[in-house]
Symmetry: D2
């Protein structure tokens, strides 16, 4: 049931499905821009590799994509570093909460994977080393990948993150003590907090990630973002590490590689078929969008298709 | 390149590929039957859902499938318990070595997933509760699933496992202290050690797992082993949890759900396409077959196909 | 204020002091003999090295001394093994709850100290190896040390412990897997559960431990139980490791080496001065007698003396 | 054998004893001022509460007392905060290496005790809050306590510590994320690195700590530094927590409360009798002075006296 009529039908069922899902959980509250979001917002946008769009609800309203952006910085760093990247960060699931220092200490400063905070900080350090104008070049890369010139950092969010980012400062200092951070800590943190401040709506998010469904090329603009092999590997990392300590649950219930953010967004990839973005601000106890996960489960159950 | 000519070509390249792979690592040595295996054995067998067979090397020689059998006991218990199963065992990757008691203690006696030893012991406890003649009925289930009436336990291996199984005894006693084991400990351990003693060759292994590539039905005999939805979920669990602390590495390099055993066997599933079994006794430092993983990486690289 | 009039005065103040202490916490409930104890019982007995006795309340009523007995088995094993003992067990505080398997696994089967359950199991294993009739010879040692021929195991308690002792079975199996248990597991567990079943009253307890206040010789009967040097070392171990994750609290508030048991008893040693036993069944959240600790704090505050 | 002739005799035996002790281990090398110390230096100074001095070797040569100073900052903060102090830091041994973040995370930002780095950072934060001119007032307090106006920070060492102090920066950021640091991080770190930079010789060290042997009053100048009760409690904390993961070993072998520093110094307290300082730069694997611990063991063995 991968035809367009099918998707259209499924998307028109989301409204009913949402009525059956209580909007429980809590909005991330550690910075004002997240705390003040309307908790009842819900958006979804599915984009097939043959460029069919299906949308629902608040899918054209921008939100803070937060950690979802870590996949894009990983894609850029993987292009630049190739396999040398994996000397400084692992590819294994973390198994515990997303900013724990325990595993980092056990791993002598090598983060478990590039999608936990510590790993994304190492990726940021790599981009700071490699790029002349890191913040500008990253946003250019994302614009190229998505074919969307509107994408931008939110200076207000980046500033708020900086004021409360003591755990990230702990992580980066610990890695620096092990020699796994090469640049000045404040420079890397500034890059990282900007990375996490990017805003997109569901449509933009689905567009920006479509290359991972299409062997590394964005079908919308024909740009090769990464190789087919690297696209597969990024998907594998998302599958294993994209949902903190709930990666298994997401694989079990939804069955697609994906990545969540504390802003309530989730991107999921059906390789060879589509990308889909959902947004619902209330998070479950593991820090993932409660209704977002439910609607993606509805989607793969109704389409009777997952990668498994 | 999923056509039969392709696979034939790829399989005929295995010999050359093996020449490039040093046979490093160590054979599992904690019981005589594993210790005494010829470390240079190598077999591979791929079976497509349209029943095409491709084989190489020692693919018709039986070996101890060990932990690979945990997937089959899970499949049987999942049929019997449905979703109540997940009240007693999780679906998350363990993130540390395969028999650690740490996470079990943190989890108040709930194992992280059904493929670590602790989880397979809980599955064993469930089958002991549910079945009248547990050992016989499990082997009947596997015969039904595989269409192979030759499959049997190895009493010699089961006995050896029992004599050295102190860590498993520690695990089951700890879970019993938390109330997550319902039956007599010795009865459950006897069942578990028999489960791990099953012997198959690569061809039999590929046959026994083909139902997971084919939405729950074994195409060889038409038997429905499990539902399409459960087959997907078992595959998801294998992807996240099938290789101890190397699940990410296997997803990253091979890109298929799979499960390894300390006997040097690995089964991997390409949903909708094939099952493939490999066997090479020497294990890497994480306890997975060194050459087995390499050859599966060769296979998915040459076919340019993985689930990602 | 170490004169006898002082102690007499202080002991007559216990009644008032108890009125100010709420009897909070919970009686250990995992076996009937502990669960059924009257939670309002309270006894105290102080015995100076010049044989002056001071007592209060239910000090002549027997109770299960539980883990307090671990000090006596340690004293016996230390005599037999000398410093070879410390190749199989450490002398460091555990820092976490008293039966955790985490540290045991990190320590490759070497328990942190002889007073945690794992350590006492290793001590038991040593005594089972060394003695011809271990249970009888241990009780003979305790009778010799205390000069009291009435001391005995409680078969009923030992049997109850055995029926619920799954965590101890987990610990001993884990250590066996590391090679740090030499004898049959059931034999060692039987010895250990008997050790923990010993019953004494406060007077008997103070008498049995007086040798640790008097350089290794019991002043009551002149028997040398251990050397002066070993007595000091056993006291040091009690000071660092006698109260699970509350050793620091006990040193800080009471300032004496001591050991508690889940039966609600505590023994404390003032080297060169006295031994003192208290008993109050309700335990605080760390598993130590709530009122017992409070009254010992009262005692060392009123005497203005501690080892520090 | 606590008479002066005894100590004199024992001190004259140190030279012979040192000949029997191999000078093994490694000098702390993370900053130049520690790395460049002559590893063969050895000094010892014992000072009785009746003001008798016994010295040996390089006892009048200044060295970096490092973490030993944490006891002095604790004494000052305890005077200012009284028991409110213990809401922000525990009194339990850490059980693992001295700068681990693991336990800090488990403890929600409350350090295990005031002598691990995290705890000393909280104490520093308290002093920064409480004092108008924290660095000057701390050094005034130490001068008052010791009756020595020569004591000073080493700006060179403080600066070096700052340049390599990433683990301490990780610790303080982590505690700040839990709300257990009230002041600006850089201000507290500056205070802390100065605290650790203090230099003394063995004589000065013994003098500065004599108040802990004498119920809180320095017999040399009659100044009350703290109350008798607080002196006992500080001693208890040193006994349980003064030697990182070797506190049990020090209690077992030496039997006195004490504190070590990575500069190779150790202070030990015999309450009511003496204070003793030793210095030997090479550290054992746990970070404590190798020969320092040996000579203190020799001392308490020869005097046949410890607190136990």
């Amino acid at each position: 049931m991968r035809n367009d009529a099918g998707y259209k039908n499924i998307f028109s069922g989301i409204a009913d499905e949402l009525n059956n899902i209580e909007n429980i959980g809590a909005v991330a509250a550690y910075i004002p821009k997240l705390r003040d979001v309307d908790p009842n917002k819900f958006g979804a946008h599915l984009l097939t590799i043959d460029k069919q769009h299906f949308c629902f609800g608040d899918s054209s309203e921008k939100f803070s994509i937060q950690s979802i952006a870590k996949v894009l910085s990983l894609a850029m760093a993987f292009e630049l570093e190739e396999d040398k990247l994996w000397e400084r960060v692992g590819v294994e699931p973390s198994g515990i909460s997303f900013n724990s220092l325990l595993q980092l200490e056990a791993g002598k400063g090598i983060p478990r994977n590039p999608l936990v905070n510590a790993g994304a900080l190492v990726i940021s350090d790599i981009l700071v080393s490699r790029l002349k104008d890191p913040k500008r070049e990253l946003i250019e890369f994302i614009k190229m990948a998505s074919g969307n010139t509107e994408i931008a950092y939110s200076p207000a969010i980046a500033e708020s993150e900086k004021l409360t980012g003591f755990k990230n400062a702990a992580l980066i200092n610990l890695m620096k003590s092990y020699g796994n951070i090469k640049n000045d800590i404040d420079t890397v943190l500034d890059f990282y907090f900007n990375l996490c401040s990017i805003e997109m709506n569901c449509k933009e998010l689905a567009e920006a990630f479509l290359f991972l469904s299409a062997d590394g090329v964005n079908p919308l603009n024909g740009n090769r973002v990464t190789s087919a092999s690297k696209a597969k590997r990024i998907n594998a990392i998302m599958q294993l590490c994209g949902f903190y300590d709930e990666a298994g649950e997401f694989a079990f219930k939804v069955g697609l590689p994906g990545k969540s953010g504390v802003g309530g967004g989730i991107i999921a990839i059906h390789p060879g078929v589509y990308s889909v973005a959902v947004w619902s601000p209330k998070l479950n106890s593991k820090g993932n969008s409660y209704r977002g996960m439910k609607i993606l489960e509805y989607l793969t159950t109704r389409t009777e298709s997952s990668i498994f």
